[in-house]
């Protein structure tokens, strides 16, 4: 199993470096070969697109083109990267003339995107390509005492039409299925497919905090010991901003939040000290101890 | 007690256009509607609105097409007004912001439609009604016009022979109160739910037509009901004539474009009554497919379908599991429009002072025995405007009369009656279904005296059962069971007038086709049927047709 790897922007390497470290480490452990696209730019994450759609599309076309050169599918480790790149990919398929225009800029840099790259989040690489059965067989620390609340991240879910949900309906429960395969119990709560508020956290802190508080408290109410998310931006909010959200709400929250790769890493026997838990805001000590 | 200069009942296109005109005239106008205005069935009109905008077109040609389309039963003074004023009204709609599809030169594009001698149907992809309805609503927001939304009109208030407003029920609270007005404009649309199936929405129960009928206003030409040639088999949902306007074919089971037999010149774009009859004949004679004919759009190509006919593609995918890009679509004639209605003059005035009517619920008559596609949206705008203007003028001159609070008593008593009867096992939905099927079978595309008499008898029976109907839910908030029961009463009265008028007319003209009287008989029947409500059923009289420019000719397409 071999993939072109888009690690994302500064976020997984600087803001949430535990993600990069745990994801790369996990893939190594599982025998998933990664060819990192060193020069792939930020996807724009919707921010660039709020000013200049074409610039964002150009960046993503270059990433897709670089992946295309490797002749491997492109793996992402961030819901937002997955979503934004998929949206661009869909746009290019729908409007080949537009892609032609974008390619003119790419050609100046010696690249051309022909439209063939498949983009897959690590979550789907695990549940579809690697396979849940195989993963199950590699579990050495079953997560049997943990009740885990899955938080998908908007960009991994919507618009469903361009994220392959029709062709792969199992994606709708991929996180829960994965949790189950690792021996854990998935907690069902309404917020699991809603928004964490990251895109507005610096512009409307009040609303973002309200969303964080709502989802973490609901998960706790439904019995969750820990939350897991495949998106570092969600993580930054749900974990990093959790104290501020708790403050605003006027109550304690204290729900640890794991990255997808950390959760899987723990279950398949990776050394906890190599998974970057010390970087978290909300302490994960208890959770890690229980595993 | 609320009081206004002008009360418009019904907030679809005709109603809102009337209200807008009244607002511009500076009078105190209010709209009343049992649904939020954008839920009105005008939104379901798809294909387009007619106007002689082109340099090579003329309002006279449009008017002739309309008169011929009406099988010469249309009043030609009204038709002239419709067609002459159309261009200005369309331009006005565009200036209000309607997103009409355009030609290369940026001018409003027009497509061919049935029975038209020239492509004069302006359109917004295939959501024309929705687009125009929303634009007129936007204008009313800008003009800050008062509206009683989700209020149900129970009866019209008549004092000393003059209409003084309506008694209405606030659907949110159950309160019944009089809403006084110096003039009332009835614009409650069609009555499709008298039939099953129908292209019409569930709200099209003919309320206003029945309300006017019950206070002695005559209903004209009730026997003339349009069956739209292309409605979906199961749901009855409309598939626009615009599909044929873009070039779609109608095929029978042998793959033939059978319309060339029935309308050698216009083929699929013959007048709707001609096409529906042809389809029914093909089906009856064994050349149908599952009781339908086929609408074939494949040769139009994916790009054109996606641009010009996106909504009907969605509808066919959702409701008929058919992608019209890949396969032909099963369609059949479905009850669609009422040519007849509340008799009005060319200003929208009825025989009762203070009461006006416009739109599908009215009969001026512009459509006569059969309506051309694209003329109904046009009628709502032209005559909605005229009725609004005339009603405003009347209101300015009318004196203030206060009606007593007790006007609500009869409606309150009726509601009590519905609640307090003993339960004799009657069910409104079942009665409505039987009514609909009787109308389809016996007052359908092809009629015989025997069938029509049978329909009259059945309707009589259904009315007796209706008189035993009990409404079980007695809550005050949003009591849909009560309102459905009242609507059923409206529908039964109208069905009675329709069947009786049809039985009496012993000829075939336009959409009224008698197997036992298959020819058009101008000598005896070039006249409008006028039905008056009596406790013993409709009393029929006749009124002359205004023939001005075009003498009736043999009608072929």
């Amino acid at each position: 199993m071999s993939y072109a790897f888009f690690p994302g922007c500064d976020v997984p390497r600087k803001s949430t470096p535990e993600l990069y470290v745990s994801a790369v480490g996990l893939c190594q452990k599982l025998g998933i070969e990664l060819e990192e696209l060193e020069y792939a730019p930020c996807t724009g994450s919707g921010m660039i697109q709020s000013k200049d759609q074409a610039l964002g599309d150009t960046f993503n076309a270059s990433t897709l083109a670089m992946a295309e050169l490797t002749e491997k599918p492109l793996m992402t480790i961030c819901s937002t990267c997955q979503g934004v790149i998929s949206q661009a990919n869909a746009r290019f398929k729908e409007e080949p003339d537009y892609l032609g225009e974008i390619n003119k800029t790419l050609q100046e840099g010696g690249l051309e995107y022909k439209g063939t790259t498949e983009v897959k989040h690590l979550l789907w690489v695990l549940t579809e390509d690697f396979g849940l059965d195989r993963l199950r067989s590699m579990v050495v620390r079953p997560l049997k005492d943990l009740r885990i609340a899955p938080f998908y991240g908007c960009y991994l879910l919507r618009p469903s039409a361009i994220l392959g949900y029709a062709e792969n309906p199992a994606r709708a429960s991929a996180l829960e299925d994965l949790i189950g395969a690792l021996g854990g119990t998935a907690v069902d709560f309404r917020g699991k497919k809603l928004c964490c508020g990251y895109p507005i956290v610096s512009d409307n802190e009040r609303n973002a905090n309200a969303m964080i508080a709502n989802h973490t408290l609901e998960a706790k109410e439904k019995g969750a010991d820990v939350m897991v998310t495949p998106c570092p931006l969600c993580h930054m909010n749900l974990d990093g901003a959790q104290p501020a959200a708790a403050d605003q709400k006027g109550t304690r929250i204290g729900l640890p939040v794991l990255h997808l790769s950390q959760m899987v890493g723990l279950a398949v026997g990776m050394d906890a000290s190599g998974l970057g838990f010390e970087r978290h805001t909300v302490s994960t000590k208890d959770v890690v101890a229980r595993v | 007690m609320p009081a206004h200069d002008v009360l418009v009942i019904g907030a679809g296109l005709a109603g809102m256009r009337a209200a807008l005109e009244a607002a511009r005239a500076g009078v105190d106008v209010a709209m009343l509607s049992k649904v939020q205005p954008l839920r009105s069935h005008s939104a379901a009109a798809q294909g387009g609105i007619n106007a002689a905008l082109g340099e090579d077109d003329s309002w006279e040609t449009h008017a002739f097409d309309t008169a011929k389309g009406s099988d010469y039963l249309g009043d030609q003074d009204a038709i002239e007004i419709l067609c002459k004023e159309a261009p200005a009204d369309i331009i006005e709609l565009e200036r209000m912001g309607t997103v009409f599809s355009r030609r290369e030169d940026g001018r409003i594009a027009q497509r061919p439609f049935g029975g038209a001698g020239f492509p004069r149907t302006c359109y917004v992809a295939d959501i024309t009604g929705q687009a125009i309805l929303h634009v007129v609503w936007e204008q009313l927001i800008g003009a800050d016009v008062r509206s009683y939304e989700e209020w149900f009109a129970l009866s019209l208030i008549v004092d000393d022979g003059v209409c003084r407003g309506a008694v209405a029920l606030n659907m949110r609270t159950g309160d019944v109160m009089p809403i006084q007005a110096k003039t009332t404009v009835m614009a409650t649309g069609g009555l499709g739910r008298v039939y099953h199936p129908t292209t019409n929405g569930f709200i099209c129960t003919g309320d206003g037509t029945s309300l006017a009928y019950r206070i002695g206003v005559p209903l004209m030409d009730m026997e003339f009901v349009q069956f739209h040639p292309t409605s979906l088999k199961e749901s009855g949902v409309l598939i626009t004539e615009g599909a044929r306007g873009e070039g779609a074919y109608l095929l029978n089971s042998l793959g033939e474009r059978f319309m060339s037999k029935y309308a050698p010149e216009k083929i699929e774009l013959a007048s709707r009554d001609v096409v529906s009859r042809a389809e029914q004949t093909e089906i009856d004679e064994g050349r149908g497919v599952d009781g339908c004919v086929l609408l074939d759009l494949r040769h139009l190509g994916a790009a054109r379908i996606k641009e010009r006919l996106p909504q009907i593609r969605e509808l066919a995918l959702d409701l008929a599991n058919t992608d019209v890009i890949e396969e032909p679509l099963q369609v059949r004639p479905g009850m669609h429009y009422q040519m007849g209605g509340i008799k009005t003059d060319i200003e929208g005035a009825t025989t009762i002072r203070g009461l006006y009517a416009a739109g599908e619920c009215a009969c001026v008559s512009v459509h006569g025995a059969n309506r051309l596609g694209g003329n109904s949206l046009l009628e709502t705008v032209v005559f909605g405007r005229r009725a609004g203007a005339a009603a405003s003028q009347y209101a300015r001159e009318a004196s203030n009369v206060t009606v007593p609070e007790t006007v609500v008593q009869r409606d309150l008593d009726q509601i009590q009656e519905l609640f307090s009867r003993s339960d004799q096992g009657e069910n409104a939905a079942a009665i409505r279904r039987e009514l609909g099927e009787t109308m389809r079978s016996n007052v359908g595309i092809f009629r015989t005296g025997e069938q029509l008499q049978s329909a009259c008898d059945t309707i009589g029976e259904l009315k007796k059962r209706y008189a035993r109907l009990k409404v079980r839910h007695t809550g005050e908030v949003f009591n849909t069971e009560l309102l459905s029961a009242i609507e059923l009463g409206f529908s039964l009265d109208l069905a009675e007038a329709m069947a009786a008028s049809a039985l009496a007319r012993e000829e075939s003209r336009g959409a009224h086709t008698r197997r036992d009287f298959p020819e058009r008989d101008d000598a005896n029947w070039l006249k409008h049927t006028v039905a008056y409500w009596t406790p013993d059923g409709p009393q029929l009289e006749y009124a002359p047709v205004n023939i001005i420019r075009w003498q009736p000719e043999r009608r072929v397409y």
Partner: protein, 260 residues
């Protein structure tokens, strides 16, 4: 096919809270959720209150939450929701709004917000002799926004509205786009100024929920982003979010090895 239709009931005249009532129904294969409700209402329980009319997804009456997601009842096939006989289908009124009764939501705040964006054409200058001359492509683009039937599904499930009732919300913003994008409307400046204030385009959290639930292809969030781009282009940058976007875009542009 047999289903159990579990419907949220609420009667303001009773003392109780909302509760669920289940109707067991036998439906034809191609039935929609609206068909099921009409059957329940017509033949089993006349006290059920709901709004419906066209059943062809053009009037917007029948928006409701079906299995937790806002949809049009008439455009949701039961067979797409149900995988075995007797399965439950959950039907509730649309969210982010109070309930009048059962499935009838109080849409006052919805209409209020639509009115707030001044949703009528503000033409400028003298009227042309006939129609305004506008490119067909522009009209097509606006017809896409005009596809909105004001059903309320997007507002029902908007994740920002859930925490902040002052957000103008997707439907009103999509409606505003229809005017900003219309060459015949000259109030762009005023509109964009208003739209970039609190509760406007910059308060959308870009979650795509409105795009997902809209069954008429309006894609409200795409329109919101288009408004953002126009606002920045036209100089309406006096908002912290706009400044962040401008900064970020410049940063990425400079950091890029491509000649962008």
């Amino acid at each position: 096919m047999r289903i159990n239709l579990k419907v949220s009931r609420y009667d303001p005249q009773s003392d109780g809270d909302a509760h669920y009532q289940t109707y067991s129904l036998d439906l034809p294969h191609d039935a929609t959720v609206l068909d099921a409700l009409i059957q329940a209402h017509g033949y089993i329980d006349g006290s059920l209150a709901l709004r419906y009319s066209c059943r062809s997804a053009v009037c917007g009456s029948c928006a409701m939450r079906i299995d937790g997601q806002a949809r049009l009842g008439c455009k949701t096939k039961v067979v797409d929701l149900v995988h075995q006989e007797g399965q439950e289908v959950l039907v509730e009124p649309i969210g982010n709004m109070p309930t009048i009764k059962d499935l009838v939501a109080d849409m006052e705040s919805f209409w209020g917000k639509v009115r707030q964006v001044q949703p009528w054409l503000h033409p400028a200058g003298p009227e042309p002799e006939r129609e305004y001359l506008v490119p067909h492509a522009t009209m097509l683009d606006l017809a896409g926004a005009m596809n909105c039937i004001m059903c309320g599904a997007c507002v029902s499930d908007c994740t920002v509205l859930e925490v902040d009732p002052d957000f103008v919300a997707p439907a009103a913003l999509a409606k505003a786009y229809r005017f900003v994008g219309d060459p015949r409307d000259q109030a762009d400046g005023d509109r964009l100024r208003a739209l970039t204030e609190y509760g406007g385009v910059w308060d959308c959290t870009r979650c795509n929920m409105c795009v997902e639930v809209c069954q008429k292809g309006v894609a409200p969030m795409d329109r919101i982003l288009a408004l953002r781009r126009k606002a920045i282009e036209d100089g309406f940058q006096d908002h912290i979010a706009a400044r962040h976007v401008i900064e970020f875009e410049e940063q990425q542009r400079k950091a890029s090895w491509m000649g962008v």
